[in-house]
């Protein structure tokens, strides 16, 4: 216990003066065996004495009498107790034995130092102050409690994840089923099933990543004929169709999906009405990287399928979603998508910017989309951008800092509580 301090306890002091109980017992037996009753009368703390004397093999019990079995030479514990009392150094092993018997108290250097603080002003609260009760004898120095501590680089979720969870929560609360689909998608599900003609500008090489490998997808046989018919002549939908020769080879071409609406199209074949599904996922556009554009970003798509839903219900779902996002002021303007009618641009008012901003497209899926996939009911559908509201909230003006550069300073300092 280098630097520490050793003290006798009250019991230890008593034994130092009068002898350890086992020593008293042995001394008593030196003049011959004693009955238990007799021994108990002559030796204080007889049970302790008997326990240790037996353990050391000094005494034995026979016919109700105690007698010496082995006369001890030196008793190191007794010597040590007396040495402590005299302030001398003591063997560590014996000392720990005494401490275990609560005959000595070993104080750590920390406690010794703490005792010196009595009556003084201290900075830190310590376990020693609490344990020794010395906290009653010290004053705690007042701090400048107005000072903010230095910032920590704690573990943290990416703001995109925080936002994604918020959006997921809203859709789940509204009773939607979560779906997902592959990033590498066939032209069939990304375009054809959504009634985008095969020479549509959106399918141009300029906007879409086509795949070199894997170049071709297998087509879902059950839907190919109906999709072909609807493109060529409207099929059974009452539509005129796009009136051109639809090609399976073009539909087979794989792309990096350009929207999550491909997942919505797949959902139409997987659930029976009424149903509501949503998908939050990465989409890809073949664009040059700059502060406004990345080749991939996140969209959230939703569909509601039921026999009597209408345009007003579409607006209702969108309004409710944005209300829960804290964006109460919302308006709808006419727009165009090849796969919806009553196509609607969703615009949300950002109070701090005093601006209406386009956040996504919506509409009712055209019958040319739904009928070939086996859905007779109206399908409300929307696809909303994800990054823009986050960037506006956080005042970020460069999308690259998001998930292209993953600027650690920005991520570490990002406000995630909205």
């Amino acid at each position: 216990m280098a630097g520490g301090r050793v003290e006798l306890t009250e019991e230890g002091r008593r034994y130092a003066e009068r002898g350890l109980p086992e020593k008293v017992l042995v001394d008593a037996l030196k003049s011959g065996p004693l009955s238990f009753d007799e021994a108990r009368k002559r030796v204080q703390a007889f049970d302790i004495a008997l326990q240790w004397a037996k353990k050391n093999g000094w005494v034995q019990a026979k016919d109700g009498k105690l007698s010496l079995a082995n006369r001890p030479g030196a008793i190191p514990e007794q010597d040590a107790l007396e040495a402590v009392a005299a302030g001398k150094d003591v063997d560590q092993v014996v000392l720990e034995k005494l401490a275990w018997r609560k005959l000595v108290r070993i104080e750590s250097e920390a406690v010794v130092e703490t005792r010196k603080l009595a009556g003084k002003e201290v900075a830190d609260m310590t376990p020693e102050l609490i344990r020794t009760g010395l906290w009653k004898d010290v004053r705690f120095r007042p701090y400048d409690v107005r000072a903010a501590g230095p910032r920590m680089n704690a573990g943290k979720l990416h703001i995109l994840t925080v936002f994604e969870q918020k959006v997921r929560r809203i859709y789940l609360d509204l009773g939607f089923t979560e779906t997902e689909g592959p990033f590498v998608e066939s032209g069939f599900w990304n375009f054809d099933a959504l009634y985008q003609p095969q020479d549509h500008p959106a399918r141009d090489l300029a906007d879409t990543f086509y795949m070199r490998k894997p170049a071709q997808a297998k087509l879902p046989g059950a839907y190919v004929d109906a999709v072909r018919a609807v493109h060529q002549n409207g099929g059974r939908t009452g539509s005129l169709g796009w009136r051109y020769k639809w090609s399976e080879a073009v539909a087979r071409q794989n792309v990096m999906r350009t929207h999550d609406t491909s997942v919505s199209a797949r959902s139409l074949t997987m659930f029976r009405p009424p149903f509501k599904t949503f998908c939050i996922g990465r989409v890809f556009r073949n664009e040059t990287i700059d502060y406004k554009h990345l080749p991939e970003f996140v969209q959230v798509d939703g569909i509601v399928v039921d026999k009597d839903v209408c345009f007003k219900d579409l607006l209702g779902y969108l309004k409710e979603f944005f209300r829960r996002m804290g964006l109460a002021k919302i308006r709808f303007t006419p727009s165009y998508f090849p796969y919806t009618e009553m196509s609607t641009q969703v615009e949300v008012y950002f109070e701090d910017r005093k601006e209406w901003l386009e956040l996504g497209g919506s509409g009712i899926f055209r019958p040319e989309v739904t009928e070939p996939l086996g859905i007779k009911e109206p399908v409300l559908a929307w696809g909303l951008g994800f990054e823009r509201p986050i960037m506006l909230r956080l005042g970020l003006d460069d999308i690259r800092n998001f998930y292209y550069r993953n600027d650690l300073k920005m991520l570490r300092e990002a406000k995630v509580l909205q």
Partner: protein, 546 residues
């Protein structure tokens, strides 16, 4: 979206009244044309590709006039005068550019406004409906300079010479493709063919070399009185739409439209056909789609604002509309005329039970564990390149999903591992405070012939620590903490991996199979990423491990 630009003065002349700021900024966008920008004397609007009729100021003004006007409006009714001219189609065009349709416009007053409008509508139609002239090319000629009848035929590239617009010298067709800027721009549309299309007059003079360029001979000037329009292309329906858009624009300016007799294989057809046509439009269907309770009269009044007639069962569609193909399109016209701003959103009412994706729930739980251990989440691009994925990692190249046409070369493959992404993040953030503990949990793409597209998403987790001193033990204890919270039993089996220091890398084994790798990143890899801090990392296939 195409952006069209109009002089406010010219637009207001067509609309027939002054338009205020509210009209430009609030009212017109409610027709479906967002305002792009407004300057002192001009406005720029986005016109969606389903309304090419609004590329011209006449068409745009026609739509706006009806939409903003409060009262009743007469429906457009276009008349075509009987054909006097003939154009003969030679069978030789079949193999290169099979279709042509024409019109004559009489009584034209050429003004700057008209020329500006013609140039804009031609350019936009070429770009959108015409798919960069592939499907549609338009020629506009001074009819007074040439002598009918005309012929549309394909000829050998060196067999005919003419002076094309804007170059001032006579060229053969082949020379036009080689020397004229338009020739070079659009050569790909016809050069595969042995014979190329021309339109010639009675004296074999070239009016046009579609889809490339017109002849100087028929250049429209201030003195032009009568115009001949040719529209050629690959799709008969679409070239008719383009011609109708042009012809109705001229008609709106008070010009007379005269048909042309197009003779092909002995059959004679008068073009253009400017008659309105019918699309079924049931009031109850429209009401059901929109959630309205309109009667026939109300619906007719609304459609009238869109220049669409209504006879109780059918909508009467004007000849310039190209977008109506289903009764639902009529419903949209009703909705626009009614005003999107007047629809009252309903409270969501379809009762269904929510079902989260188990996979996503788990992914989120995993992210929370990693954040709890003290790691900053990063989110990286799926698209990458072989240098980052393999070369910089000192690893051999492996099969990956590859894109065909990336405009950004650094985005030409899909990543199949997350560690290169984390190295990229650490390399990009060397000017910030250390230690840097980062993780990503997300998608990679692996080739899988069993899957319908031949590639599928796999969810992985990777974590990395960069600091002045970082050891195998640091990352091993991170993995241990993660695995304990995730409830995954695993063992580490020593391995050799070129991205890691030899003797300091292990495979992560779960239920007997390797699901990931852990170790100290090899100095060569750090140097490849221009990093000066040691890094220890692990990567794990979550779908197999969890």
């Amino acid at each position: 979206m195409a952006i069209v630009q109009f002089e406010k003065r010219a637009l207001e002349a067509i609309v027939g009244r002054r338009l205020g700021e509210a009209d430009y900024k609030e009212r017109i966008p409610l027709f479906g044309c967002p305002l792009d920008k407004m300057e002192n004397s001009t406005v720029h609007y986005e016109v969606s590709p389903n309304r090419p009729d609004m590329f011209s100021i006449e068409g745009f003004g026609r739509a706006v006039r009806r939409f903003v006007a409060p009262g009743k409006q007469k429906l457009s009714n276009y008349k075509t005068e009987k054909a006097k001219l003939t154009l003969k189609v030679d069978p030789s065009v079949q193999q290169v550019r099979p279709h042509i349709t024409c019109a004559v416009v009489r009584n034209v007053k050429i003004t700057d406004d008209l020329v500006a409008s013609l140039m804009q509508v031609q350019e936009k139609l070429h770009e959108t409906l015409g798919r960069k002239r592939k499907k549609v090319a338009i020629g506009i000629h001074d009819l007074g300079k040439v002598q009918p009848p005309f012929a549309y035929k394909a000829v050998a590239p060196d067999s005919i010479k003419f002076i094309p617009l804007d170059i001032g010298r006579e060229l053969t067709l082949r020379e036009v493709l080689e020397q004229h800027p338009k020739g070079r721009a659009y050569a790909s549309i016809i050069e595969h063919s042995k014979k190329w299309p021309v339109i010639v007059d009675k004296k074999d003079r070239v009016l046009s070399f579609p889809p490339i360029i017109n002849g100087e001979l028929t250049r429209v000037t201030g003195r032009t009185k009568d115009i001949f329009i040719d529209v050629t292309g690959t799709d008969e329906r679409v070239i008719s739409q383009a011609l109708n858009i042009l012809a109705t624009s001229f008609a709106d300016r008070g010009c007379r439209i005269e048909a042309v007799s197009v003779v092909e294989a002995g059959r004679r057809k008068a073009t253009p056909d400017l008659s309105a046509w019918k699309m079924k439009a049931d009031v109850s269907y429209v009401n059901r789609m929109l959630g309205l309770k309109l009667d026939k009269k109300q619906m007719a009044a609304l459609l009238e604002k869109m220049d669409v007639g209504f006879d109780g069962t059918n909508a009467i569609i004007p000849p310039y509309r190209t977008d109506v193909m289903h009764p639902m399109d009529v419903a949209e016209d009703v909705a626009i005329a009614y005003g999107y701003d007047r629809f009252e959103p309903t409270v969501p009412k379809v009762p269904t039970i929510a079902q989260p994706l188990e996979k996503h729930e788990r992914l989120y739980a995993i992210k929370q564990i990693m954040a709890g251990i003290g790691f900053q989440e990063v989110v990286c691009l799926t698209l990458s390149n072989a240098e980052d994925e393999f070369d910089r990692m000192n690893a051999p190249r492996k099969p990956v999903a590859e894109t065909l046409n990336a405009v950004t070369p650094e985005c030409d493959i899909c990543r199949r591992e997350l560690l290169p992404s984390l190295m990229d993040v650490l390399a990009n953030n060397q000017h910030y405070e250390y230690p840097q503990r980062v993780f990503e949990a997300g998608d990679v793409i692996i080739l899988d012939p069993a899957y319908e597209t031949g590639a599928r998403n796999v969810k992985k987790l990777a974590a990395a620590i960069a600091d002045t001193r970082v050891s195998y033990e640091d990352i091993a204890s991170t993995l241990a903490s993660f695995m304990e919270s995730a409830g995954i039993e695993y063992e580490l089996r020593p391995t050799k991996h070129p991205s890691f220091i030899e003797g300091r890398a292990a495979e992560i084994i779960v239920k007997g199979s390797a699901v990931g790798i852990i170790g100290e990143i090899a100095p060569k890899v750090l140097v490849n990423w221009k990093m000066e801090m040691p890094v220890a990392a692990f990567e794990l296939d979550i779908e197999t491990a969890v």
